[in-house]
Amino acid sequence: MTKYLLRRILHAAISVCIVVLIVMVMIYSMLDRNQIFASDPQFTKVSNNDKTLYKYRNWKDFGYVDYYTYTDWLQELAAKGEIDEDTRKAASAIGRTAEGDKDEVKPYVERFTAEAEANGYTVIRLDAIMQTKSKIAPGGQQKLFATRDRPLYTRLLSYFGHLVTVDSIHSVTEDVGERGISFTLHDPLYGGEKFSPAIIGNGTLHKYLLYCDGKFPYVHQNLVSINLGKSYSINKNIEVTTTMTKAQGSFVNTLVTYPTGLTEMSADDLHSAIYQSGSLEGNVLNEARFTDNYTNVLTNKSGMSRWGYSFTIGIISVFLAYLIGVPMGIWVALKKDKLVDKIGTAYIVFIMAVPSLSYILIFKALGNMAGLPTTFDMESKSKLMFVLPVVSLALPSIGGLMRWLRRYMIDQMNADYVKFARSGGLSEGEIFSRHILKNAAIPIVHGIPGALLGSLVGAFITERVYVVPGIGGLLINAIGAYDNGVIVGVTLFYATITVVSMILGDVLMSLVDPRISFTAKAR
């Protein structure tokens, strides 16, 4: 069993990698890369050569190209000690056109070109764009840089290489004083008297590596973080995981004691402090509150995260669906060809055939008539707004469950072993509960992990129709905004969820049904 599971997990990991590869090929190679600037406000502000450079800089950030400028290269030479500072300054002043290079610049430009081309880069030289005879147009400075398309395998490797990062005391490269990790039983955030264990680091990216607070799941860690990729347009420069898990809504002010001892009403969540270089000195606001450069904090908000909303709605509807769908399916199967069965079948047909958008809109209209809130409002304390999304998600699942359970039950009822049991004198109730139900439930059990984990993925149509600030629309919004980082990240997340729920489903099925064994040789 263990061996089989390990093999399954390995297969799953490979197939997830291939999925990411396919998605990368699709979005990096097939789509026009200029589209990523479509909704970038910064892009419209830069012009001429700066615009070209801005494009390449961002393409580098988002994994399209490798790129470095002539100035970067000279600086690197200077850092290595090959040239002194004066030579560097002299060499960096390239002419407005290639012909206009001064004699002290020329050999360096030639060396830069030769080195870059030897590494497979293309050297691009943009001549100055002139507004008048002597005045350079805005953003029209002459540029020299080298670029090459990033090969797919390096993109894939660097993506998976950066997927999981473990915070260490050497994460911050600057001088931060004594590096180290300290363990305390009394978190200084709570005044140093309340019992609350925490691990605090210096030199690490996060100040708090492990801490406790009053929010579920009570113990939190910042040591290991998962980077699914950076967003470009959906949530600029923010990690996909952060986009998914960050609380939304309005600020919640609580009494916060800052490291300097200042106490005030604030929404800052000091546990989330991240090192931000040079943020303390000269910043009056930070100097009054913080004693070190760990000043970049998240804020406490009233709402749940995207993930929180989707998961809450999803999980309630899954439970509701199984609680109603399974008994309904059994009832319908027992009353085969009677009125209940006919009504049940009509409902199943309705769910199966009608476009999901259409029936969700119909549910919304019915809910509206019943006086339920039809749009989601994060500020509202009312729990009623959850009702319609939950019901809209549960009703189709109930239809699906009824359909399969009815089918399996009726198949089992006609099986030979049932006739045998009946001829052996077992009562109908006994046959039903001991044999038919048990056998019919096995395929249903297989779907339970998928249904539970599926609520992590969110539901697009439902969330859109009821304006739920959930996770469901993330992929589609990302596609609409050409946000490659989010597309890849969310795809990886989805694929992992699917693969894991398949494996869990198989395991659960083999636990329920001892006849199913994965150790025996396949057919």
Partner: protein, 325 residues
């Protein structure tokens, strides 16, 4: 015995008249006498035996007439009343008062002053055509490939991994990329829905083939030396027919459903299909008095898909030879 024989003689019939000698024929003796069985005749006999099926077929005929014949007969121009501000968002009664009673306005008018009834059936024509073409392509490839896949173990090994992988690539992403790379035209959408759509149908039929491939009668047939092609066409295909029809009944509505979904998220085709109509009229849903232009495409999409689904399911039931008794 003697008594009985003698009794015939009483009626004046001789042995020669009563009995004639028949030569023994080896060929004739091999034949088994059974009532003539025609598969498709039995399918239709069972299908029409249920009176409800006749009703469903009639509804289907009406729906098909409205989707294919009605748009061809009328001269529908969605922008005919574009400049006429008094023609927009009218309720049926208002539209009748404005344009005079005609079939075009029984559902009122839409945002551009177009008659909703015409717009809906025109949209249904596009959506249904898309669904039928996609279903035809996917089912043909899927069934043929699924049959081969079920028989070949080598292919099974590779294709199962392919399904596991491709199944995880978000379908929406695939379609979005194709729509962005090409253009949001009708045939792009056909390509997008068929480029991987056949895979899951093939997988379904592969599983079905595997289930019956190893049944006892097929094992016996193979032991007797029946060639694979004959097993496939004579033993397995009849079993598959009802599955193919049932699957078709699920597939066609699912493409309509998917088209509606894609149009809703803004990745649909450029033609005014049912999905585009629903998406475009979304704001009209809760606006008092505009309900007709929103609910008409929703209800029509539901009617079209339900009728197709039920007709297909019942035909699928009838085409199962086990119901022919």
């Amino acid at each position: 015995m003697d008594q009985e024989l003698r009794s015939f003689e009483q009626y004046g019939l001789s042995d020669e008249e009563l009995f004639s000698h028949v030569d023994h024929s080896a060929l004739e003796s091999e034949k088994i006498t059974a009532p003539r069985y025609s598969y498709w005749r039995s399918v239709f006999r069972v299908f029409f035996h249920k009176k409800v099926n006749i009703v469903i077929l009639c509804v289907l005929a009406v729906v098909l007439a409205f989707t294919y014949i009605y748009p061809a007969l009328i001269d529908y121009d969605p922008f005919a009343n574009l400049m006429d501000s008094t023609a927009k968002h009218l309720r049926p009664a208002q539209a009748f008062a404005r344009f005079g009673p005609s079939i075009h306005f029984i559902l009122g008018t839409g945002a551009a002053g177009q008659p909703t009834f015409d717009a809906v059936w025109n949209g249904a024509r596009i959506s249904l055509s898309l669904a039928l073409i996609c279903a035809a392509i996917n089912m043909t490839i899927g069934v043929l490939l699924g049959a081969v896949w079920g028989f070949s173990k080598k292919m099974d090994l590779i294709m199962t991994e392919v399904v596991n992988t491709i199944g995880n690539v978000p379908y929406t992403l695939l379609i979005a990329v194709l729509v962005l790379v090409l253009s949001p035209s009708f045939w792009t959408m056909v390509l997008a829905l068929t480029v991987t759509g056949w895979l899951f149908i093939a997988y379904f039929f592969r599983t079905q083939v595997i289930i019956i491939r190893d049944r006892e009668y097929n094992l016996a047939s193979r032991c007797l030396g029946t060639p694979i092609t004959r097993i496939a066409t004579k033993n397995i295909l009849p079993f598959m027919t009802s599955l193919i029809v049932t699957q078709l009944a699920i597939e066609i509505p699912s493409y309509i459903s998917y088209e509606v979904f894609l149009a809703f998220i803004g990745m649909g085709i450029s033609d005014m299909s049912l999905g585009r109509l629903i998406g475009a009229a979304q704001s009209a849903m809760l606006t008092p008095g505009w309900g007709f232009e929103f609910w008409s495409p929703v209800i029509v999409s539901a009617i079209v898909t339900i009728v197709l689904y039920v007709a297909g399911q019942n035909l699928g039931d009838a085409s199962d030879p086990r119901t022919h008794m």
